[in-house]
């Protein structure tokens, strides 16, 4: 990438002071990452590009809220992007969203990870994967479909041919098991 986390934090800090050029640098260094998130959830390029713009407006507005000690800047931005994408997905599901006719698997990973931020993140990921590995296959893929692809309870119910109530129970058990396994 050529841009370090430290650089990104400085761009954001300057953006918080109203520096639009710095914000432009932040956009260009991070947009592919955030767009990957939004597109995988919304599966519609035009809508994803619209939502991505909203996301960066939100990042601009909240630039002053970022606390470096709590999460990495990329995680912080990714959280804003995921939340906004899921909101858009849920909102539009009410009036039949258009799903682009492209190969979704192209976006879905098969354990070929993109670059993680740093070694510490890799450790966190390894630990989480170990804990996910402790779940039954169905439940593990449920958690991944929900988190990575934005599946709702109802969509999971359909995919796994179970009542929504059962899905909720499974999700809660899986999440509790993960929490325990992660020891936090």
């Amino acid at each position: 990438m050529g841009t370090s986390t430290r650089d990104l934090e400085q761009f954001l800090a300057r953006a918080a002071d109203g520096d639009m050029d710095a914000f432009g640098h932040l956009y260009h260094a991070t947009s592919a990452k955030l767009f990957g998130i939004v597109l995988r959830i919304l599966k519609n390029r035009a809508q994803s590009e619209d939502i991505l713009q909203e996301i960066y407006v939100r990042v601009w507005e909240r630039a002053g809220d970022f606390e470096p000690g709590r999460a990495s800047i990329i995680t912080w931005m990714a959280t804003i992007a995921r939340n906004r994408a899921i909101d858009a997905l849920r909102r539009d599901k009410r009036h039949d969203a258009v799903v682009d006719d492209f190969d979704i698997d192209q976006l879905a990973d098969h354990d070929d990870l993109s670059v993680a931020d740093d070694a510490e993140r890799n450790d966190d990921l390894r630990q989480l994967e170990i804990c996910l590995g402790g779940l039954d296959d169905d439940r593990r893929s449920m958690v991944r479909l929900a988190y990575l692809d934005g599946f709702s309870r109802a969509e999971l119910a359909e995919r796994f041919a179970q009542p929504v109530g059962t899905i909720k129970t499974w999700l809660h058990r899986s999440l509790k098991q993960l929490k325990e396994c992660l020891g936090s």
Binding site: S31, A32, E49, Y56, S114, D124, G150
Partner: protein
């Protein structure tokens, strides 16, 4: 299941993304003033965010930054315009208020009881031009009532702050607007001087409400005998709303 577990699972599913839209909205609101919920969400974000590594980078088809920049600047211009409008509106409303006072005096039906306050509504918050708050002052110091209006639902809520109700009296709410004619129109009595009163203003259109002047008068039990406020107006004061 304990409350703590409920909150933890609510936070977990919020972060996982499986809550329905209404529930997500409720969580968005609750987390702003519930520290334990907000902390639980942050913990779940920390637990699950390593999964973000599974998202693959993808380039948008074009450079979206000019569009983003335009949206940010558009929002800023709109905010400044709203603020400038408000300064003008305060001025207009003050004049409207003066006219109403004169009008009320001119009806001759006054003096019997005291008009508690007349009000200047209309302060648009930077992020919303649909919600307004106004404070009714008994005198220069103590607020007597706080009124809020939501233009989308056209619901008005009047909350007594330091209002006390003398024996045999009642408070009456009024609206004044050029479109409604020269005299204030009654919006009914405030049943209870110690609890909020909600009124639906569904019969008025939002544009009228936005520019209307509101008043509260102290009247004999059962409301004004003349159909108009029966006391001289004192004054209202405008406060900004921050969301």
């Amino acid at each position: 299941m304990t409350d703590r577990e409920d909150i933890d699972m609510l936070a977990a599913e919020y972060v996982l993304g499986t809550l329905d839209p209404d529930m997500r909205r409720i969580v968005d609101e609750r987390r702003t003033n519930e520290d334990d919920l907000n902390a639980a969400i942050a913990d779940w974000e920390k637990r699950l965010s390593p999964l973000n590594a599974h998202y693959r980078d993808e380039m948008p088809t074009r450079d979206l930054f000019p569009g983003i920049r335009a949206r940010i600047e558009g929002a800023r211009i709109e905010r400044e315009r709203v603020q400038a409008d408000n300064i003008v509106e305060i001025d207009l409303l003050k004049r409207k208020l003066a006219r109403w006072r004169i009008g009320t005096f001119a009806t001759g039906a006054l003096a019997a009881s005291l008009m508690v306050a007349v009000l200047v509504s209309d302060f648009a918050a930077p992020v919303s031009d649909r919600q307004f708050v106004a404070v009714f002052h008994r005198d220069d110091t103590q607020p007597a009532f706080v009124m809020s209006i939501d233009l989308d639902t056209r619901a008005v809520i009047i909350r007594p702050v330091s209002a006390t109700l003398p024996e045999g009296k009642t408070y009456q709410l009024w609206i004044a607007s050029d479109e409604l004619g020269p005299a204030p129109k009654s919006l009914g009595l405030l049943e209870n001087a110690s609890a909020p009163t909600t009124r639906s203003l569904g019969e008025f259109d939002p544009a009228l409400l936005r520019n209307a002047t509101f008043g509260i008068s102290l009247e004999p039990e059962g409301g004004s005998p003349t159909g108009r406020p029966t006391g001289p107006a004192i004054h209202g004061r405008l406060i900004p709303v921050e969301h």
